[in-house]
Structure formats: structure tokens, C-alpha cells
Symmetry: C2
Subunit: 333 residues, 2 copies
Amino acid sequence: MALVAYEQLLGEIKRVLIKYGVNEEKASLIATIYAENSLVGVYSHGANIFVNTCKRILEGTVNANAEPEKIGGLGGFERWEGNKGLGPYNSYTCAMRAAELAKEFGIGCVSLRNNNHWGRAGKYSSLIADQGMIGICATNGTSCMATWGGTTSRIGNNPLTIAVPREGGNVAVDMAFSQFSFGQLNNHKVAGKSLPVLGGYDESGEMTTDPAQVMETRKLLPVGYWKGAALATLIDLVVSCASTGNTTKQLDEFGADINISQIYIAINFAAIGGREEAMQIVEDTIAYVKDTEIAPGFESVRFPGQSLIDTKEKNLKDGIPLNDAVWENLLSL
Amino acid sequence: MALVAYEQLLGEIKRVLIKYGVNEEKASLIATIYAENSLVGVYSHGANIFVNTCKRILEGTVNANAEPEKIGGLGGFERWEGNKGLGPYNSYTCAMRAAELAKEFGIGCVSLRNNNHWGRAGKYSSLIADQGMIGICATNGTSCMATWGGTTSRIGNNPLTIAVPREGGNVAVDMAFSQFSFGQLNNHKVAGKSLPVLGGYDESGEMTTDPAQVMETRKLLPVGYWKGAALATLIDLVVSCASTGNTTKQLDEFGADINISQIYIAINFAAIGGREEAMQIVEDTIAYVKDTEIAPGFESVRFPGQSLIDTKEKNLKDGIPLNDAVWENLLSL
């Protein structure tokens, strides 16, 4: 495990992007997003996914120099084309555009088609929250879950993220609709641990806590069983209908999370007053959910988003723990 | 069990509302919502909850003649005050207003404070979908779940509903963030059945499938464990910040789902073209999620919202099955 300073990671990612022909300003912006994802502890969607994205740039499925463009709009709602550009850049552009629209129209919504993997989903709702608005973003992806009552993979885990502004760090949720991600399954497998709760199906079709078996069948359990399967299906429909983009069905045909569909919503609630009340609501709610007896086996409870804030502070001080192979790979690019 | 024709149920609810001083047009509208909820099979939020609401009208916590009013707005975003009126009426008004705003601004959003129980959450996103738009609605409520790692009830099950338009019946999800509702727990208890999956905590703090024990502790399990607890917390913040209304903390102080906070979003994606593509996306996705091998113990799979469509057809033909006591109570009002 390498411990890498944030500025160093940022510099390396920026260097590679410039090498691929990305201009300096754009490279800085994109590098900041990937490096920050590692900084806040979402390692799978920081340096790790950047290294994979570089392969896609080299093979030509991702165009590092593409610019997203608006293809239609009415008032606060716009439809954008991602032109197969870099996911985090397109997503940053659309999240910021949604916030811009919300300044004028109270609420802004940008739907985006033909984007590539945006990295950490929660980044974009948090970007919107950083401007004092409520951010809601969602994406689709290739399937990893069955419709409830079925056994064939048909539904993506289609993350939904919501962030509410707060001084000291937003309250935020970044929720894929499988109970565990493949990354989490692998972490448990490598550590020789069972999953803490049921996570998917084994070969005989039984639910299991064995991460290795779930990784083999690739049949993950939806959050809340039938409930998460249904909500993830609706998220696929929302992002693809709004953007007239690809659905999970098409992504499964591509066999990869490319040319995906997304949505970015910004609610500028404070534009009509109420910012102070809202900030009090947020603090009071945090205090309320933390004011609880602690369950056996736990030391404390956290508000949604707190672990990112805590990890960022720790990693800024101690350096970001990166997998040696990922770090060496990045240095070699 | 009484089997009641839809028109008869509608007539009885309307009769009672008029008796309480509600004018004929408004009584018709409200009765339609309650009766339809029973018609589509969500019995707990149709005739059953209407009978309870009548008690609240008589005791004065619900004002059957109140009108909701706009208290602020910018472009597509508005904040409304529910004035403690009848939940379904306020909610209908705000959902229709969100759709109206979306006609002008592409996206519309109404936040509502001081509303009463809206009955079936999915009604309002479906109302928006009936106008060819994506509907997204959410509410907060009194707590029934603990923060993950805690044991004290601090989080409401805060339903989120999403509907996408479809000829022949919308694709829709209506999802409370507890794995089961109290109504479902009671149904299992009465039938002497265990829950199909873990549903809450027993007295010793262990997770259990025993509905009676969960009903006693009133500690329900969040959908997806830590994930649903986090998302439900964010929904509380979204609806209360947007409306500057009460949070679950305040509702717990009231000890009832009164003066609650809600949000109604309408995305008029077809306003800039794409309606035909979207309708094809919806049909293709339904076909895709239903094209699966069937798991042991199941006969078929359904798309989200299908059971409501099927139940409506059956109940229109056979009559709506109502609990005898509820039906007699309604007739006696």
C-alpha cells in the first residue's frame, strides 16, 4: 500500500491527461475530481478507475477531448449529448449547468446521454450542494441484478445520489441499488470475510453471504430485495427517457458502462428564502439521528456523508492509501 | 370481507366529506383519490385511512375545508403551505401545480409544508405521469427506524415514489424505506406467517422475521440496512429544507403524521421532443426485465406498477375487498 499526498496524486493524473492531449485547464479539473474521490476514501472511483479509463482512451472508446453539448431545452430543463467524452468532465459540466439553470428557474435539470463512467456518483450532487442547493443525480449502468422473482441479470445497480448543503461538509448519500458493489465483494473475498448480510445468489440460486460465490454468479442482491429492484428499474427509465439515451438493455449489449444515461437536478430552495431555517434543520437532524443508544458491536453512529468528511481529513494528513499496483501503473502511464 | 363496487365506495366517501362541510367538487376529487387507492389494491391507504382521517377531522387536527396556498416561488420552483388541510387534496393540488410549472419551465417542483397524510404516495407521481411527464414525489413521517449502528427510533420510512408514463398504465414505484410497513407486518401476524425476509428487531436487539416482535419493538429494518437508513434521512432533509417545514424530529414530538413536509417534481422531458423514443424505451425495458428465467417458488415476474394495474382490473370486475369493520364504519359516518 502506497501513501500518496493529495497534491502528488493530482499532479500525476493531470500529467497523464495532458499527455493524452487534454488542455491544461480541463486536465486540472478532471484530475481534481479523480484525486478527490480517492481523497474522500472512495478509492475504487478515484485513481483506480482513472487507470482503467486510460485504457479506454487508448483503445478509443473514450474521447478525452470531446466536449458535451446541449441538444435541446425548455426553461430549467435541458438535454445534453456527452459525445463519448470523459465521464467526470461531462458530469461536472452538466451538474454545474443544472445549478446555473436553478439560479434562474428555481430548479434546474440536465439529462445527459452517451456519457462514460462518471467515477464517484456522489461528487455531482455534492457539487450542487456546495452552491447552497439540493443536488439529486442518477445514472444507469450494465445489469448485475435480476427482476424480483427472476434469476437472469436484467437491472443495473443505477446509483442515486442526494446531497443537502451543510457548512463543514454536506449531508449526502451515494447509493447503488445492489446491497454491495463488486469492489466491496472483492474486499471481503480478499480479506477472507463473509458479507455482514446477504449479498447475492450462489450457483444453486440460494441467497448467500459468501462474496466469492456472488462474484462468480454475478447475481447481486438488490437493496431491500423487490424494493431495490423496482427502484433501480425506474431510475433506468428516468435517465434514459429524460435524455433519450441508452438503457441498461443497450448497455448490456455494449457489455460495458459506456454511452450511459444520467440526470442532474438542482433545487435552489434558498432562492425564495429559507436558507437559515434549512441550515438549522440540517444541524438539528444530524444531532437527532446521532442521539441514539448504540447497538452491540458498534462504537458510534454517523450521519450520511460523515465518513467522507472524516476520511478526507485523515487522508490529507496521512496521505491517500493507494494500491501499489494502481499507483505504479499510474506513474508508468 | 365486503366486496364493494368502486362507484359505491366513491359515493360513500363523498357523502361523508359533504357532511363535514366540504363542497361537492372538492369532495368528488378527494373521494376519487381515496376510492382509487382501494381500487388499485392499496387498501391501507384507501377506505381504511379515510376512516381514520375522519376522526382527525372531527377532533380538529385536520381542517377538511382548508385550501393550500403558495407562499413563495421562483420560475419552476414553488413553496406551498398546506394549512393543515386534507392530505390528498393538498397533494393533488401541488402535484398538478408541479406539472403546470413543468409545462412552462420544462421542470416543475412544489415543496409543501404542514400537510396531512396523503394516503397512497404513488398516486401523485402517477398523476404527473398521466400528463406525459416523469413524476417524483416524497414525504417525511414519524420515525420507525434507527440510524445504522443505533437502536433508538430516529428515521421515518419517508416514501419516495417515481412514475414514468406508459399507455396502459404507468411504470411506477412507491417505496417506503422500511422493508415492511406496519400494515404488512400486521397482515403477516394475523395470517400466522413469518416475514419472507428480516423485517426488524426483537426485544433483545436481534434482527427477526417474526412480525409480532417487530410490531412490539416498533423498530423496523431499513431497506438495504445502512443504505435505506441513509437515503430516508436525506429524503427528510430534502422535503423539510425545500419547504422549510417540519422534520421527522418535529413529527416525533407531535407523535403523529401531521404537519408533514413533502416535495413534488415533474420533468416534462417530452416538451423538447423524444416522446416516441421514451415510449419505446419504456416498452423495451418492460420486455427486458420480464425476459428472465423464473426463480424457484415464483410463477412470473412483474414490472414495477404492474400489480396495481392488474388489481384495478380485477377489482373493477369483482368489487373491492374491504374489511367489514372498515366498510361498516364508513357507512355509519
